[in-house]
Amino acid sequence: MLLLVQYTLIFASVLILVALGGCFSEHSGVINIGLEGIMVMGALGGALMLKFVPATVPAVVMIVLVIAAAVLVGMLYSLLLAVAAINFKADQTLVGTALNLLGTAAAVVIVRAINMAENKDNVSSTITYINSKKAFLVRIGGFEFNWFMLIAAIALVVSYIVLYKTRFGLRLQACGEHPQAADSVGINVYKMRYAGVLISGLLGGLGGIVYITAGVSEWKFENGVAGFGFLALAVMIFGQWKPVNIGIAALLFGLFRALSNVYTGFPALVALKLPSTIYNMLPYIISLVVLAFTSGKSRAPKAEGIPYDKGQR
């Protein structure tokens, strides 16, 4: 049971971080379908840091370095979306999809190149970090507390305050609802949208490293992040683009994702004799069902997905 709570919390943390990223981007008016790719790149940055920083450094240093790497790579990568979508008015869905494919392909190429440089026969796309990962974990009885859980909770609170209580957040939202009106009162829409996308890169990259360190100590980059970026988008929609609701939605989705990891620990579930594949599918099925019921009266930012053109009325 404790294990279920632990997994639920860690997966919910991933979903909270990434969904909040999507939330910022969409509130500024840019659809970020590329979150999945941003997660992969952030995960790659963090994983390389885990690999190359010796496991003997103090835990705090390790945590800061890994987070910095994930965040930085995530933000740099999200710039690709920002430039294309904001300056060049590209189709945001297309560019986002490209980012997803590019993220996985680039990560595989990079990891393989590194692995092959170390050992000629190692052609796998896997990075292991069993020892360095311990910096993030604190054992409290049978419960493995992960610092990322705290970070996700902080991110949730900060996002709420930023979006609703600061000048920046309200302006950001204005750019996603009615950019022309925002522009007319002197808000630089392009700058705001850049800020939105970059924040989504920051949170997406962070979510990526959390995801690949949740429950496993090595990651095969050929798998990308298995649709988790899209689950986060589903969480965002289910949470109606509001931080608090996103937090609740993330817990629900996290629970179903955690079940596939730990269902063997529940005699009642094992007795059902369902193949493990069913539990793997569960998060995706649930999100489809949930989306079907909640998308009807969608409260999406009105101007999302539409490139802003100053000259247009």
């Binding site: 490209a98 392909a105 680039a106 595989v108 190429v109 393989r112 000629k120 649709g227 989306l291 079907a292």
Partner: protein, 377 residues
């Protein structure tokens, strides 16, 4: 007179698309080359030529012809996936689920072939129906529940992968993670070659799937450009409300579009797995890239069915070519990287056309002004 013709040529939409696509390819290859240089400067030049040469890597003509055939065999499913993507895109839907519909089609046709022992045409039909049904779910959700089709498609991609893995586990080879070989279990399920394989140095995987895929491309073009249905679908894509106001059934049109799109992707899968070239690995943990490469091919082909024939071939050419890079230095995924870059660059095509037209306008203005001045003098 000559100059006037030249100008009108550059103004031509098809020519602009062609230039844009070629620019995307060149920039994509250049970026790929830079990545290769960064990994290991020693073999980068050789690696990029290996990717571009693909089957021409083999010195003998027979061997090259055989591998040319293999590339073509894989082009057929890619072409259908790209048609699937572009058909939906023309109607304003982004069918990222082509990958999942492809998976579903593969599962359906292999199950029909191996477990039910049906002949090939029934297997193809099953793949089409299942692909269409899967895509129709996305269409239904979009039309009636306002669910973004991109997200529902991604969810269905993963669901399809897991279901197909489960389904094909029942017809799995006892000693390997692959589904049973068609040649041993049900040769009647293999798409007939009708002598085509003789052209490709007896590459037995070359079948009538190739000409069929091209015919389908032409049919898609006819459907989109020359029929009332195609017109209605495109109108719905441009403006749902306007289409509804004109008396078109906009919800029905969305679902129908997705179903046709899914049918194309499902058919693509059957055109590949029913050649017997590859078996399905039931332990797969990621969705096959065919559907995603279809997105690259669709946009690279300028979203035109005939253009898709050439762009699909190109994408498959470099994907297959990736197998020939020096494995002691690089990995074959470098081609995936290049195709992903090409998709990204395709995002800039719209801006490129805008910029080109503006440039042409300015040049014409200048020329007109000069002409006037010349007249005065």
């Amino acid at each position: 007179m000559n100059k006037k013709e030249k100008r009108s040529l550059l103004r031509n939409g098809a020519v602009q698309s062609l230039i844009a696509s070629l620019a995307c390819i060149l920039l994509g290859l250049l970026a790929g080359y830079i990545v290769l240089l960064l990994i290991n400067p020693a073999g980068a030049g050789k690696a990029i030529t290996a990717i571009l040469k693909n089957f021409m890597y083999y010195p003998t003509k027979i061997k090259a012809m055989q591998y040319f055939g293999s590339t073509l065999v894989k082009t057929a499913p890619l072409l259908l996936c790209s048609l699937s993507v572009l058909f939906a895109y023309k109607v304003g839907l982004f069918n990222i689920g082509a990958a999942g519909q492809y998976v579903a089609g593969a599962g359906a046709c292999l199950y029909c072939a191996l477990a039910l022992q049906l002949p090939w045409y029934f297997c193809v039909l099953a793949a089409i129906v299942v692909g269409a049904a899967l895509a129709a779910i996305s269409g239904l959700l979009k039309a009636y529940c306002n669910v973004n089709e991109v997200i529902s498609c991604i969810m269905l991609n993963w669901i399809a992968l897991y279901v197909v893995n489960m389904l094909l586990s029942t017809v799995k080879d006892a000693s390997s993670p692959y589904s049973e070989a068609l040649t041993a279990k049900n040769p009647g399920a293999i798409i007939p070659s009708m002598g085509l394989s003789a052209i490709f140095a007896n590459n037995k995987y070359v079948t009538i799937a190739l000409p069929l895929a091209v015919i389908v491309a032409i049919l898609v073009w006819v459907l989109l450009e020359k029929t009332k249905l195609g017109y209605e679908l495109k109108a719905t894509g441009l403006n749902k409300q306007a289409a509804k106001y004109c008396g078109m059934r906009e919800k029905y049109n969305i679902i129908l579009t997705m179903a046709i799109s899914g049918a194309l992707a499902g058919m693509g899968a059957s055109f590949y797995y029913l050649t017997g070239m590859e078996q399905w690995a039931v332990t797969q943990t990621s969705v096959p890239g065919m559907g995603f490469n279809g997105i690259a091919a669709a946009f690279l082909g300028g979203l035109h069915p005939i253009g898709a024939i050439f762009s699909s071939y190109f994408i498959q050419h470099i994907t297959s070519g990736g197998a020939y890079v020096d494995k002691s230095m690089y990995c074959s995924q470098i081609s995936d990287l290049i195709s992903a870059l090409i998709i990204y660059l395709c995002g800039f095509v719209f801006f490129f056309k805008l910029w080109l037209n503006r440039l042409l306008d300015r040049r014409d203005e200048k020329r007109a002004a000069q002409g006037q001045k010349g007249g005065e003098a």
